[in-house]
């Protein structure tokens, strides 16, 4: 293994700045965009930031770290966990208590380093938990994490001393201890703190995929027996991977605590654990940046679609189920599959097949959304006294016409899309085959 490491470091020594820029330009563009985004929505007439946008992008940052740490287990080590929110939540609780302790003068710590408090407590819990749980893999591991997650979230309601019961624990982030002399009162300052830690954590996690531990995690995921033959203990690899992922989840928890200034039972709950699973999987578990994409996308959907529709969870769940069946690589996987075709300049040849399958699919999706919205407004929406409006027209859910129209759209769209499926897959495979021949290295 040392030879491999030496060879790798020899490789990286040859990287110069231009090569790094050439390779990581999407990442740098993304970071630049993240820095600029709050200013795009700056209200110049009133001279203040849009609170909605800042809180949205802050949440995206926290969830990105969280989803990346989840993927350290799920994608890289093949360990599906249903209790990942535990590490975020416990890191959050530790940070809240640390904030209060600093405010009361117990010890001194700048706000900028608070994420380390969360990270270390996440690491400690993940070490204890991982020591027990990583004996198992696959379904058994998933079930242990489920049980563990439920235990902690039940304990969070039960023991008021540390968890504060149902009301949670609150703190004030303006504790006047800052390296940079910032007050952390305005949300924009907190956003840049979150962004800094997000970039740092993502960078370190990317690095961790390249070191022997990350490589061995992949090996143990793919073929545990052969990894043992090479001389590694798969259990120890899983254990390290679990512990480190707990560390980063703890960092996310600390930023969560600083951002909201309150940590409640929600932060350790199964809902958050399920949420990060949806995000990571929809984003893509096979590509490093997939979880970031998923976190950004799903957070956007959550904030924006929940304003439009009360049934948005249904859409996310359907998207998840469809992805599990048809696109297990997630959105990032789909993008990566199209990259070689795009590079060879043959993406245009796919336009017609795409058009032929996308048009009926969109029809079907519109029909499905219509059915969901009708059902929703006929039950829960009715109870809340809200009417379904489309293009400023109130739709009568008790008449049969809207139901009939949406059902026909749905059935027709899906049937047409299904009839196009085989042809689409064939033409796609043909183009993919050609590009593969032209670019054997990729």
């Amino acid at each position: 293994m040392t030879e491999v490491v030496a060879q790798r470091s020899g490789d990286s020594a040859r990287y110069d700045v231009r090569a790094a820029l050439g390779r990581f330009w999407p990442a740098f563009t993304f970071i630049a965009l993240a820095i600029v985004v709050p200013w795009l929505f700056f209200d110049w007439s009133k001279g203040r930031h849009s609170g909605f946008v800042i809180s949205l992008v802050s949440q995206m940052g926290v969830m990105s770290i969280f989803a990346l740490s989840f993927n350290m287990q799920m994608g890289q080590a093949g360990l599906l966990t249903f209790g990942h929110a535990v590490f975020l939540g416990l890191g959050g609780y530790a940070t809240i208590h640390a904030l209060n302790a600093v405010a009361s003068g117990l010890f001194w710590l700048p706000v900028e380093l608070m994420p380390l408090v969360g990270g270390i407590s996440g690491l400690i819990f993940a070490t204890i938990f991982g020591y027990m749980a990583t004996r198992q893999t696959g379904t058994a591991y998933a079930m242990i994490t489920l049980g563990f997650g439920e235990l902690v979230s039940a304990a969070a309601v039960m023991f008021n001393g540390f968890f504060g019961g149902e009301g949670g624990v609150t703190a004030n982030r303006m504790i006047k201890t800052s390296f940079l002399g910032l007050s952390y009162g305005p949300a924009i300052e907190v956003y840049y703190l979150i962004l800094f830690w997000t970039v740092l954590s993502a960078g370190v996690m990317l690095l961790l995929t390249q070191v022997p531990l990350g490589r061995m995690a992949n090996a143990c995921r793919d073929n545990s027996e052969r990894a043992q033959f090479v001389g590694y203990d798969p259990r120890r690899v899983r254990f390290y991977q679990c512990a480190i992922s707990g560390f980063f989840a703890g960092i996310a928890g600390a930023l969560y605590a600083i951002n909201y200034e309150i940590v409640t039972y929600d932060a350790v709950s199964a809902v958050l654990s399920a949420n990060v699973l949806l995000m990571t999987f929809i984003g893509g578990i096979g590509v490093f940046w997939g979880p970031i994409l998923g976190a950004v996308l799903i957070t956007l959907l959550q904030s924006w679609m929940s304003l439009l529709s009360g049934a948005w969870v249904i859409y996310v769940a359907v998207l998840f189920v469809v992805m599990v069946i048809y696109a297990p690589g997630g959105i990032a996987g789909l993008i990566m599959a199209h990259l070689p075709i795009w590079r060879s300049g043959r993406l245009a040849t796919l336009a017609v097949p795409y058009l032929r399958i996308v048009m009926p699919s969109v029809t079907g999706i519109i029909g499905f959304a219509g059915l969901v919205e009708l059902t929703y407004s006929a039950s829960i929406g009715k109870g809340q006294g809200r009417a379904l409006t489309l293009f400023y027209h109130v739709i009568d859910t008790s008449s049969l016409l809207p139901w009939f129209v949406t059902a026909v759209l749905f059935a027709l769209g899906i049937a047409l899309a299904a009839s196009q499926r085989v042809q689409f897959l064939e033409s796609w495979a043909a183009v993919a085959e050609e590009t593969r021949v032209k670019e054997p290295c990729r």
């Binding site: 599906l80 379904t139 242990i144 235990l151 039940a154 008021n160 399920a274 999987f281 599990v324 069946i325």
Partner: protein, 315 residues
């Protein structure tokens, strides 16, 4: 004594309800290697469909129609979902069932609302079967016990005395060999999945009005059923039965006995005051912990005895 007997009977009723859910899940899990997260959701569908039917047609038709509907749902999930996800491995199948569980929960909320629905015990069974030390034993519980015992016998005979049962049992452990002998193993999978779902639906029909029919019922029942399956051991129906009864006993008795570790320490001569370390943890009474017990058992069994009670291989 009277408390003991009444609790014992209740534990038996609850345990048999658990068995009805867990037996199908055990078969599915040991045969296909898929832990079906949507199993408890099918139980919920059974309860809601039965509620809908009993409102218009009556309880007795619901007892037949709802399980059949659930069986159809199960078969559809197996054919159109799991078979396709199978290409991408077990974790993919597991994720599919997780997504379905989420979808079903939200769908039920959307159709029937967030609050519990008034699904009641049928009038024909709403009387007291017998009284014991002043506590009434409702006839409906007796009916539940009867149905579940009947079901246990039926599965037992089906699996041990019929040709289909033989093929299913063989597929549990040696599906490749069964396939090589010319049996249609995917169809066996579909049959078992549909059958398990129908049983879950039946449990929903008779459990929905015994417990509460609400959108959260799947989530509260799901983990308990997982514990039973893991505790009983893969591939063993008898282990599953024993585990169900034990689980019923644990759950029922934990609610009844109001003791805490602090009481035990006091009994042993160690006084627990608010100043004692971990005083808060020590003074939690057992009924409050009872909701936690299944999860604790799940974690402990999987760590220390992943083979379960009567299992032949690790989970």
């Amino acid at each position: 004594m009277e408390l003991l007997l009444v609790t014992l009977l209740n534990a038996l009723v609850y345990g048999m309800l658990l068995f009805m859910l867990a037996s199908g899940l055990t078969l599915i899990f040991s045969m296909m290697g898929v832990l079906n997260f949507a199993h408890a959701s099918v139980y919920m569908i059974g309860a809601y469909v039965a509620y809908q039917i009993s409102r218009t047609v009556g309880f007795w038709p619901a007892l037949v129609i709802a399980p059949i509907a659930c069986g159809v749902v199960g078969a559809a999930v197996e054919i159109y979902g799991l078979r396709k996800a199978h290409r991408n491995g077990h974790i993919s199948e597991l994720l599919l069932t997780v997504g379905l569980a989420l979808l079903i929960e939200k769908g039920v909320q959307m159709i029937w609302g967030l609050a519990p629905v008034p699904y009641r015990v049928p009038a024909a069974l709403d009387f007291t079967l017998f009284s014991m030390y002043g506590t009434n034993f409702p006839a409906y519980r007796g009916f539940m016990l009867l149905i579940s015992l009947f079901m246990f016998l039926a599965i037992w005979l089906l699996l041990t005395r019929t040709r289909i049962g033989l093929i299913i049992q063989a597929s549990l452990t040696h599906s490749d060999m069964v396939s090589a002998l010319g049996h249609n193993v995917p169809r066996v999978y579909t049959t078992v999945f549909a059958g398990g779902s129908a049983l879950a639906g039946l449990a929903g029909v008779i459990g929905g009005n015994y417990l509460v029919t609400e959108p959260a019922m799947a989530f509260t029942m799901g983990p308990i059923v997982f514990v039973v399956v893991v505790f009983g051991g893969l591939g063993s129906l008898l282990g599953c039965l024993i585990a169900s009864i034990v689980m019923g006993l644990v759950q029922s008795f934990a609610v009844v006995f109001d003791v805490s570790p602090a009481d035990l320490l006091t009994y042993l001569g160690v006084a627990v005051t608010p100043m004692t370390p971990f005083a808060e943890v020590l003074s939690v009474p057992l009924p409050r912990v009872s909701a936690l017990l299944p999860y604790l058992l799940l974690v402990l069994i999987l760590i220390f005895k992943p083979r379960g009670l009567m299992g032949t291989r690790d989970t």
